[in-house]
Symmetry: D3
């Protein structure tokens, strides 16, 4: 019996969307006010979904407390109250759009979830905009 | 890397469920209080999901601002503060159930989303009832 | 020990804002798209607040099940799936703005709440607009 | 045209996670504070999803009022304000984890949904933890 | 400049409403299904409100991190995953209605909030029922 | 008949809590990770409450569309996608704590709301932390 278990987490961060190989006019045209050189920020809401068989002994697909601790160690401690462009190495050469942040989160979590389980990441940048990455 | 981006929107409208080729008793039996001839209404919450590859240059699957503007032009301007039965041509001969409204929204949006992307529509009629149409 | 207990309820209705003693241009100017003669509608979310002393015997300010039943009988059964202008007598000569609906709800509930308790009504017309009336 | 319709419901219950064939230390190690022998509880939020073709006559995949009544009869009346371990027969020999509760709900609902329709169940144990079972 | 700062927290617990000095029929009549001798439970959502002057130096009424830690130590650690009737001493002779739980929380927090500040407690028993106690 | 009407709005911004007249150790001690020199950010949710008499002619305390436009012009256009410390003049010498932001918003809105009405501001810094300022 295959079930998906989901756990919510959150972090607050600053970011800016721009490419250093584009001039200001091009960055402004593509990224609009998200290109503000002084940054802006969001309360990111993260949902991590793990799909697998129910363990007959425990009734768990995965212990949610363990999943919570992995999310805290890998994502919240690395991203919370940070400037994603300046202080999170994964975004040194990668634009921190919601899409790219979701991919980075998926890649950081994947090694910590057993390989017989499917991993999916939902990331809310605002309550009105969100993205999903399934690997 | 395939990601789904989702954007929320909303509109308020009046509607009524009934078939002119059924008599009152039959309409009452099937549609109950949704058949009220004086109409009732809802705050519809709409989520539009677009799935595609991340553009390497922009980090976007699709510019959310562009998606927001398409939803406004095609759906909000056409449906908001309207009587769906009387004032929205698509429902002249189609019962405006949540299911049918979702299909109409999908069909109105599809030509405006590039054909290499998948489109999906979630429509909340109330916070307790919602429908999903994937085309 | 004075405590406020609050109970949520909801109803869906159609309405229209206009005055029959104003011409179309004046109604349009003041009420904009809320003046649509074919009506529009909302999912109204209602919160009823009752403030009073905790009954030492029961630990209740008021039995929430009783409050729920009063709201159903007086408000939900009267307003749900109705056209407020055409089918709810209180709005025969009163514009069904959120403000006026909240006052009408308060007046309909007041006789059913014991007089040593304070009554307050919160009414959400949309998740972004709401009103509060305290009598 | 295949559409998924979803209906929310809820119930409050007490439960405890433990195995009678494990000793206290083992139960404590695996289930932590969820193993409290005096029980704890949750407000469970349930979303039932039914996928099928839109009926051309009614515009419905399934009458939501009928779905609401099935959920009430099969799930809410059986689980609400109950102790899942002690008072719900399905959990006599099955640990009431969110995963197992979702499977039990799916199995209780399946015979009542016509066999040409797909059934899916989402169960929130808390606003931060939820599970999905698709059969 | 007087501002109210509010902090949300939550705990899950089991409880039962009954009086040992009433017989079963009387308990059933007053408390209905909340009287279930095997208990039921809730996800309680708590909001603690502190009102005071803004400290000119810090721009804070009160450090929210400090408030969060007080709520954790005094309330979450004491109530979470507990049976309120059996395992929380304050309810040994006090019925754990939402009203009484809010009063107990207020009394447990009051000594830890500086006396020049006003304290208020909002407690959600379910998303549809909540209570407020202002001392 | 006095009613309070409330309108929700939102803006995303970066900020940092620190005093230039304190050294790094003191800023770190008081403001913790909110002192990050590279900034972090939030999705601020704003609710503006206006209390006054219902206008007998319109049924409005205040036209919500007018209130929405005032909030957009005075607050959203000034704060959205901005760095509060660097780009919003009111915070040049004022720490942008939630408390101070709420006071600044109130002072910016007050001249635009007629003086016979009461103004109140609720500001969510995160879904778990919020402040209220009543002037």
């Amino acid at each position: 019996m295959t079930v998906t278990v989901s756990r919510k987490a959150h972090f607050n961060a600053a970011h800016r969307l721009f490419r250093s190989d584009w001039d200001d006019a091009k960055n402004e045209e593509v990224f609009g006010k998200c290109n503000n050189p002084f940054y802006h920020g969001h309360n990111y809401d993260l949902i991590v979904h793990v799909t697998g068989e129910i363990d007959k002994k425990t009734g768990y697909v995965m212990d949610m407390k363990v999943l919570k601790d992995i999310i805290k160690a890998e994502i919240e401690d690395a991203f919370d109250h940070k400037n994603l462009n300046e202080q999170v190495p994964e975004f040194k050469d990668l634009i921190p759009t919601a899409e790219n942040i979701a991919v980075v989160i998926w890649e950081k979590l994947r090694p910590h979830i057993s390989s017989d389980k499917k991993l999916e990441v939902t990331l809310y940048e605002t309550p009105r905009n969100y993205v999903v990455y399934k690997g």
